[in-house]
Amino acid sequence: MATKRTIEVELSTSGLDREGRPQRVPIVTSGGAAVALEAPPSLEPDLGGEHMLINIGPQHPATHGVLRLVLELDGETVVRCIPHVGYLHCGFEKIGEYRQYNQIIPWTDREDYLNCIGNNIAFSLGAERLFGIEITPRCTVLRVMAMELSRIASHLVWMGTTGIDIGAYTPFLWSFQERENIYNLLEGWFGARLTTSGSRVGGMAADIPDKWLEGLNGFLYSFPKTLDECDRMLTRNAIWVGRTIGLGVMGPEEALNYGLSGPMVRASGVAYDVRRDFPYLDYETYDFEVPVGNQGDVYDRYLVRMEEMRQSVRILEQAVKRLPDGPVNVDDPRVILPPKHKATSEMESMIHHFKNVMEGPRPPIGETYVAVEAPKGEKGYYFVSDGTSKPARWRIRPPSFVNLSAIPKMVEGHLLSDVIAINASIDIVMGEIDR
């Protein structure tokens, strides 16, 4: 079995040297120590230090959804930031208390809508622990494939939209082209591009179709090239570097204390990845690395996400090689429906089908919290079962919600234009924050 390592590279830079290599240089130095620039005499009238209150959002393209930020500005510097969320609140958790376990899966599509299949699978993992089901080896590998494809798709949207926020338009087109390829694959598998509803308690909605793996191999061949092109466009781009270095810095203890997870906490130098530290789906048997930043700024978050996409490609390549034959769904009549032709021709199977659909399977009394490493961070589902076919409580632990709660801390003292870059670096999805 391959061992897990954590790569520690010098991820952060603040400028470019003559050869075009990024490096971290203070603007003014005197014997190694940074010195404050003396402000030039101002020609503007002194406004008496009055603070200004401005609204960004809830309908603003740079807030990535219906997020409203109330900013108190001193000149152009942010003194205070008060975020307002909840514009998309639909009460998913309430609705879940009125649905059977398999009926909740379509709702999980609609929270973090950039990671639909990942949410479906995370939900199924939690429900399966409640029911005491061990999924088949083929299903385990298929789920890993779906989750890693979903991670790449989500990170691509992040890279594209963040690029637009900061002023780079081309990577957006390239990344969305590759994202289309992923959605073509998901469409071939589940019949839907975005809202896949692709997993079930005890298995998947469908096995992969014939020749699907060839399509995946084609993607795995072409995607790293696109990623390298985006890398060349951004990583050493002076504008990109200048707009992202040193912004929204969070130290490791601070990041943990604020509950950050995913690329946010790893960019801050905490090697915490649910796939490795609390593994599921046999992730510990894959050979992949957990990238960790050492500055905790927006640029590090960008580098961590780029590296994560490369590691996802590695995981996908290993998964293709090890995909075993066999059934996808478990052989467990409590949760799995009989084949359609039997349900329409045999009385017993019809009763079985009817009872499973109308009454729903009943897990034992108890509770469980299952977390997975979603593209945004630690995504948890907490189930409380009272022995009926519907959960007494279904709780989503949304990574974006907790990550966003640190934004007042991150934007404090930065310029107004940097708020956009910092907000983009959190990679929020409002559907998941508001639920």
């Binding site: 061992t3 009460g91 509950g259 130098g269 609390f278 907790v402």
Partner: protein, 228 residues
């Protein structure tokens, strides 16, 4: 030039995916015994289900227990995953507030619970001073269940708007479709116009609240922030 910080690594062996986790029984988290030994009488009950340890803690000692779990180097619960609450369909059962703690360093997971009787005020201590990440999670629990977290610096609704008066949606006595008809809900929502209002703490006059004329204070306290 490196101004980076030390990389924070988990310790111990690489764990593997749990298989065939029993519904009841199994190995308990070692912290269950140490907490019980350190705080005699604080742990009312301890159960292990599906490999997860749940400690039922007395409400008045919860803050001390969490503080100790966070500070004690041999425990090092440095990460607060989640704060939420549970109300059962059997309304005679007490409400439960749930904290999911993780030790990233030692790769441990612990669930703390406080049971709240329905006839007493629903209040638990806030852990915001220990974990800053508890800020929004506690606000959400307050919003959805009406549980007060004493010591939270800014406990107001988060997902619903401040002037929402229908109650707390995740309580079992709250109807699935809300308390009003769809058209009435739309009318209410439009009348609420949350973008036209600033909350008290966003207003520059918040500091001078005590100096304002009485009628203005009453208007502001009643939720009128439009300044009209």
């Amino acid at each position: 030039m490196t101004t980076g910080f030390t990389i924070y690594h988990p310790e111990g062996d690489q764990p593997s995916t749990p298989k065939r986790v029993p519904h009841r029984g199994g190995a308990a988290n070692p912290s269950a015994t140490t907490v019980a030994a350190r705080f005699p009488g604080a742990v009312l009950r301890s159960i292990v289900g599906w490999g997860e340890t749940t400690l039922f803690v007395a409400a008045d000692q919860l803050h001390d227990v969490v503080q100790w779990l966070h500070d004690e180097p041999s425990e090092c619960y440095d990460y607060l995953s989640d704060v939420t609450a549970v109300e059962y369909r059997d309304l005679s059962q007490p409400m439960e507030v749930v904290w999911h703690l993780r030790s990233v360093k030692y790769r441990r997971f612990l669930r703390l619970k406080v049971q709240l009787a329905k006839d007493a005020p629903l209040a638990v201590p806030s852990v915001w001073d220990i974990y800053k990440g508890a800020d929004w999670l506690e606000r959400e629990t307050f919003d959805m269940f009406g549980i007060t977290f004493t010591g939270h610096p800014d406990l107001r609704r988060i997902l619903l708007w401040e002037s929402f008066t229908e109650g707390h949606p995740l309580r079992k006595d709250f109807p699935l479709r809300g308390r009003f008809s769809r058209s009435q809900q739309l009318t209410n929502a439009l009348a609420a116009a949350p973008e036209s209002r600033y909350s008290m703490e966003e207003l520059s006059i918040a500091d001078a609240f005590e100096d304002l004329p009485l009628d203005m204070r009453a208007r502001l306290a009643g939720g009128d922030r439009t300044g009209e």
